[in-house]
């Protein structure tokens, strides 16, 4: 780990957080008038923008239509200026298409797609600044955007990444912590039923520690849920006030 002490003896991380402390989450719903639903989220320095269109008619080839549920179409992209190294990111490289796939899977499981047969729901997510936990920020942003669009879901989908360093699970990893190469686990959870919509893990982690890390991750997801729920309630209240009700 190249001399970097990710967890100090006093139990503090590089940015001064405790092991189970999330970064500050700030979010807004309804940031675009054009889209059916949109949201912007900041998790520490990771910033993501999500836009939802639909449910609408199938665009493109009609053969994609499913007779019993809606098609969820996702697109994940990273802005050229999102990372330290300025880089053109062409569409369709392996990493981003994998991310697109994961987002699609997550939301296919969470959205009540069977309510909209033969239609399509588009979710576009863009990372404006990458500082670790890109997938998680995307999921959280997309959840808010879908709610803004008024599309029914089983529950909130809350995602959070978790690492494991020196026998301690660290939640909501930043870029430096991710780059250190320790194990990291991304979890997308439906907080009410404690069901896992997506689970992804990288690098090496001993089986015996898995439960500990999973517990920490689901606790973190529930913390994220509390924040997101607050955001949604505030937003609805604000809208109601503006409408004069």
């Amino acid at each position: 780990m190249a001399g970097l002490e990710l967890l100090s003896d006093q139990g503090y991380r590089l940015d001064g957080r405790k092991a189970v402390e999330l970064r500050k989450i700030r979010a807004r719903m309804g940031v675009f008038a054009q889209a059916d639903g949109s949201a912007y989220i900041e998790q520490g320095n990771t910033k993501a923008l999500a836009v939802v269109y639909g449910p609408h008619e199938i665009r493109g080839s009609r053969s994609k239509a499913l007779h019993d549920r809606a098609v969820v179409n996702c697109q994940y992209s990273m802005a050229t200026f999102s990372t330290g190294e300025r880089k053109r990111r062409p569409h369709g490289d392996r990493k981003s298409s994998e991310m697109t796939l994961h987002l699609k899977q997550t939301f296919e499981a969470a959205i009540l797609t069977q309510l909209y047969p033969r239609s399509q729901i588009d979710i576009y997510v863009q990372i404006l600044q990458a500082d670790g936990g890109n997938y998680c920020a995307c999921v959280n942003a997309a959840t808010l955007a879908i709610m803004d669009a008024g599309i029914p879901m089983r529950d909130y989908v809350c995602a959070c990444s978790t690492g494991f360093i020196e026998d301690t699970p660290l939640v909501d990893l930043s870029y430096i912590e991710e780059a250190a190469g320790g194990p990291q686990l991304a979890l997308a959870l439906l907080p009410k039923s404690e069901q896992i919509a997506l689970l992804e893990m990288n690098s090496r982690l001993h089986e015996d520690h898995l439960e500990k890390v999973l517990d920490a991750a689901s606790k973190a997801c529930r913390d994220v849920y509390a924040v997101l729920d607050r955001v949604v309630r505030d937003h609805v209240q604000e809208v109601c006030t503006l409408l004069g009700e």
Binding site: L101, E194, L199, M201, S203, R204, E211
Partner: protein, 440 residues
């Protein structure tokens, strides 16, 4: 070509079997298919068979300049290809979702877990490093590609030997295998993927799904592990909701399976090493079983037959006895007859009425032709009743009847004597053909 969808019938059959804890190939829920590993003549070439899924792995390497941000690390590149040879559903040269998923999983499983010491692949820092390329080709698709591919990749990598190099100043000399013995890659551990299929929203769980099972599954969980029980990758996919307990249970099962497979791999590698040392024959040709006459021999699958008889009897006893019903042919129009169920026929009623009538005035008939026909009628009636009590479907007596060509519309208008004239004439010409009663 798009894969033809599975019929509902087959789907429900498969799901029902899974519910009962049975699998088509006779495996138990947590059983893995047989793994077979064979090596090619070259180093770094192998074929891994997982049941009938077959993956060819080939490793090659070359000297390249390193990546700028990692000047002291070698490069490893993985590429899995799904050729139309494996299944007609795969198209060449298209990055399908499945392919992206599999490739990324392999990369994460083998590269991110740092199972290969990339720093040992460095020749001159910042100038020359080895680029190891692992090419995997799916030769036959019978389900669970990822497990087979991950085994093939790690086996090929551990079998591979790269050319030895020496450095003098800035001069790099690459030695041919004849000059210096090639050196193996340094491999820290062997991550192996194990797939778990979930059915019916996670109620049922199977290890190592076959192609058919893959097509009815709801969700898949892939866990890559090494024999030290370190998890290298977890990936859930498909639209199911997992619970924490399920994940933990799967990781336990994966641990057991991985230990077995690792042992097998090491044994296979050891075997191959010995064969090569002794100068024995190696290569695919040697390791493939000769299948000339026995090509179609199929290994017997163990089928649970313990309660088959009881079950059959139970089904029989539960089944309703088929309803008694007469296979009385109904003649709709000339040349059109109907046997068995259908619309209620008004003709039959009339015929029955006629029968009764016939019997009634039997005594007072003197006409010889009439008598003949009556006799036939008499013959027919008891025979018919006999048949009725028998099996339901008897077509033999209908054969006799169907040859008679009657014109119902006309015959109704005809006089009685004329009626009988027709069949009697027929009898004379047709000989064998019997006549069925018909009267007004």
């Amino acid at each position: 070509m798009r894969e033809p969808p599975l019929s509902n019938c087959e789907k429900s059959f498969l799901l029902k079997a899974i519910q009962e804890g049975k699998r088509l190939d006779g495996r138990e829920t947590y059983d893995y298919r047989n793994v077979k590993i064979s090596f090619g003549t070259d180093y770094g070439c192998c074929i891994v068979e997982l049941g009938k899924t077959r993956v060819l792995g080939q490793v090659s390497c070359e000297l390249v300049p390193p990546k700028i941000n990692r000047p002291t690390e070698g490069i490893i590149f993985f590429n899995l290809e799904l050729s139309p040879m494996a299944s007609p559903a795969f198209e060449l040269g298209r990055q399908s979702e499945l392919l992206v998923k599999l490739n990324r999983l392999l990369e994460r499983c083998l590269r991110n877990s740092k199972c290969i010491d990339t720093e040992s692949l460095c020749v001159i820092a910042g100038e020359k490093v080895w680029q190891v390329r692992v090419d995997l080709h799916l030769l036959n698709h019978e389900g669970n590609i990822i497990d087979a591919a991950s085994i093939a990749a790690i086996v090929a990598l551990s079998h591979f030997r790269r050319h030895d190099v020496s450095i003098q100043g800035n001069e790099v000399t690459v030695y041919t295998p004849e000059e210096r013995e090639p050196v193996p890659l340094s491999i820290h551990h062997m991550p192996i993927c194990v797939s778990f299929a979930f059915f019916q929203q996670g109620t049922y769980l199977l290890v190592d799904p076959s192609e058919r099972e893959e097509r009815v599954l709801d969700g898949l969980l892939v866990i890559a592990m090494n024999k030290h029980r370190e998890i290298c990758t977890i990936q859930s996919s498909g639209g199911i909701m997992l619970l924490k307990e399920q994940v933990l249970r799967c990781s336990k099962i994966a641990g057991v399976k991985v230990t077995e497979i690792t042992e097998l791999i090491q044994k296979a590698l050891e075997n191959d090493k010995n064969v090569r040392k002794e100068g024995g024959k190696c290569g695919f040709v040697e390791s493939m079983p000769k299948q000339w006459i026995t090509a179609f021999k199929v290994e017997k699958a163990l089928v649970d037959m313990s309660d088959v008889e009881e079950k059959a009897e139970e089904i029989l006893s539960r089944a309703e006895t088929p309803a008694e019903m007469a296979s009385k042919p109904v003649l709709w129009a000339p040349g059109t007859a109907q046997i068995g169920e259908g619309l209620e026929s008004s003709w039959r009623d009339m015929e029955e009425e006629g029968e009764v009538e016939d019997e009634d005035d039997e005594g007072g008939i003197d006409d010889p032709t009439l008598a003949v026909s009556q006799n036939i009628d008499m013959e027919d009636i008891p025979r018919k009743q006999e048949k009725n009590s028998d099996d339901v479907i008897i077509l033999s007596d209908s054969e006799e009847d169907e040859v008679i060509i009657l014109e119902p519309e006309e015959s109704r208008k005809n006089t009685r004597s004329k009626h009988y004239a027709v069949p009697s004439a027929k009898k004379a010409t047709g000989g064998k053909k019997k006549k069925k009663k018909f009267t007004l």
